[in-house]
C-alpha cells in the first residue's frame, strides 16, 4: 500500500503525550489527501487541534457544536456540490458525539445519503470533560460517572453497537478499525472515499489519560484489544459482512483488561463474564 508522506495535521497541537486521537486523524488524512474538508464535533480532538487563534489543520476544517458533526458535514457536502466543487467531506466525532448526543444528526445524514465519510474516534468515554461514561463505554469500565464502589462495579451496560446501527441504515459502507492497524484502517478510509454515498468508520482509539496506562503503550493497547477479540475489525460493503483481520491465536481478555487502570477493580468473576461474552461473539464470527 502506497502511503503519502505528506502530513495534514501540524504538530504543536495540545493532545496529551501519546494521544491516540491524533494518530487516527493523521492516518485518515494520509489516506484521503489534500482535497478534503474536515468537520469536527466538540470533544478532545476539536479542543486540542484548535486552541484559538491557532489551528493544527492544514486542510479546511469546521467545528460547530457537540451534537451536529453529521449535520454540518451534510451541509458542507451539499454546498460544495451546488458550487460544482469536488472535495471529500470527512467528519470526525468522538464516541459521545456519535453514540449519544450526535446520534440523530448522524442517522439523518445516513438516511439522506450524503456523500460523506463519518469517522467516530472511539476512546470509550467523554474524555474532554473529564472521563464521564458514554454509550460506547464498555461493560465494567470505571469512569467518573460509573465508579466502582459499594453500589456499583463500574459501567453496568454493554457497549452500544453503533457500527451495526449504522449498517441497519442500509448505507453502502460501514467498517470498524483501530489506530494500531494502520494499513487496515487506511484501506477502509480509501474505500469509503471511493464509494458514492455515506460511509461510516468506527475507529477504536486508546486514550492514555482516560484509560490509565503509560503513554508509550497507546498502540500496544489498541493491538491487545484486537488480539484478545475485545475489538473486532470488519467491514460491511453493500450489506456483505466480512472480518478483515483475524488474530493468529486469540489472547486472553485479562491481558487487555489488566493493562488499564479503568478495569483494575474488576473481580475474577467479572473478568470471566467479560471473557465469556467475547468468546461467544468470536465463536460466532470464527475468530
Amino acid at each position: 500500500m502506497e502511503i503519502r508522506e505528506e502530513e495534514f495535521l501540524a504538530p504543536g497541537h495540545r493532545g496529551c503525550a501519546g494521544c491516540g486521537a491524533t494518530v487516527g486523524v493523521r492516518l485518515a488524512l494520509k489516506a484521503l489527501g489534500k482535497n478534503t474538508v474536515a468537520v469536527s464535533a466538540t470533544g478532545c480532538l476539536e479542543v486540542i487541534t484548535t486552541p484559538y487563534p491557532e489551528t493544527a489543520w492544514d486542510i479546511p476544517w469546521i467545528h460547530v457544536a457537540f451534537e451536529n458533526a453529521a449535520a454540518v458535514a451534510s451541509g458542507v457536502e451539499r454546498a460544495l456540490k451546488t458550487q460544482g466543487k469536488d472535495a471529500q467531506v470527512v467528519a470526525f466525532a468522538g464516541d459521545g458525539g456519535t453514540a449519544d448526543i450526535g446520534l440523530q444528526a448522524l442517522s439523518g445524514a445516513m438516511e439522506r445519503g450524503h456523500n460523506i465519510i463519518y469517522i467516530c474516534y472511539d476512546n470509550e468515554a467523554y474524555m474532554n470533560t473529564g472521563v464521564q461514561r458514554s454509550g460506547a463505554t464498555p461493560y465494567g469500565a470505571s469512569t467518573t460517572t460509573s465508579p466502582p464502589g459499594k453500589e456499583s462495579f463500574g459501567e453496568d451496560k454493554p457497549k452500544k453497537n453503533i457500527p451495526m446501527i449504522m449498517a441497519a441504515h442500509g448505507v453502502p459502507y460501514v467498517a470498524t478499525a483501530s489506530i494500531s492497524y494502520p494499513e487496515d484502517f487506511m484501506k477502509k478510509v480509501q474505500k469509503a472515499k471511493e464509494i458514492d454515498g455515506p460511509a461510516y468508520i468506527h475507529l477504536h482509539q486508546p486514550c492514555t489519560t482516560g484509560w490509565g496506562f503509560d503513554p508509550s503503550k497507546t498502540i500496544e493497547l489498541g493491538r491487545l484489544a484486537v488480539e484478545t477479540g475485545s475489538w473486532i475489525l470488519y467491514e460491511i460493503e453493500d450489506g456483505e459482512f466480512h472480518v478483515t483481520y483475524r488474530p493468529l491465536q486469540r489472547k486472553m481478555v485479562d491481558e487487555y483488561l489488566m493493562a488499564q487502570k479503568r478495569f483494575k477493580h474488576l473481580t475474577e468473576e467479572e473478568r470471566e463474564r467479560i471473557q465469556h461474552n467475547v468468546d461467544a461473539l468470536c465463536t460466532e464470527l470464527k475468530i
Partner: protein, 80 residues
C-alpha cells in the same frame, strides 16, 4: 459584543507552539539499526518524525510510542 463565530486563516499555525518543552524523556534514533519499517513515522501522535527518520525535537513530547513500536529497538528513551 457577542462573537457568533471565529475564523482562523493560517493553516497549521499550532506550529508556533513548541511542545518539545513538555518532554521528560527524549527518543534517540539509531539509523544504523533502523530497518525502514516506518512504524515510528506512522504512530507518532505529533507526526514529528520525517521520512529520513529525523525527529523534530521542537515538537516531540517524549511519549515513547516510537521506541515501543520499533521492532528492532533502534530508538532509546533517554532523560533530558
Amino acid at each position: 459584543m457577542v462573537n457568533i463565530g471565529a475564523c482562523v486563516k493560517e493553516p497549521g499555525s499550532t506550529r508556533k507552539n513548541k511542545t518539545g518543552s513538555w518532554r521528560t524523556f527524549k527518543p534517540i534514533l539509531d539509523k544504523e539499526k533502523c530497518i525502514d519499517c516506518e512504524n515510528c513515522v506512522l504512530f507518532c501522535p505529533e507526526g514529528c518524525i520525517n521520512k529520513d527518520y529525523d525527529i523534530d525535537y521542537d515538537y516531540c513530547k517524549g511519549c515513547g510510542i516510537c521506541a515501543e513500536e520499533c521492532p528492532v529497538k533502534a530508538i532509546k528513551m533517554e532523560r533530558g
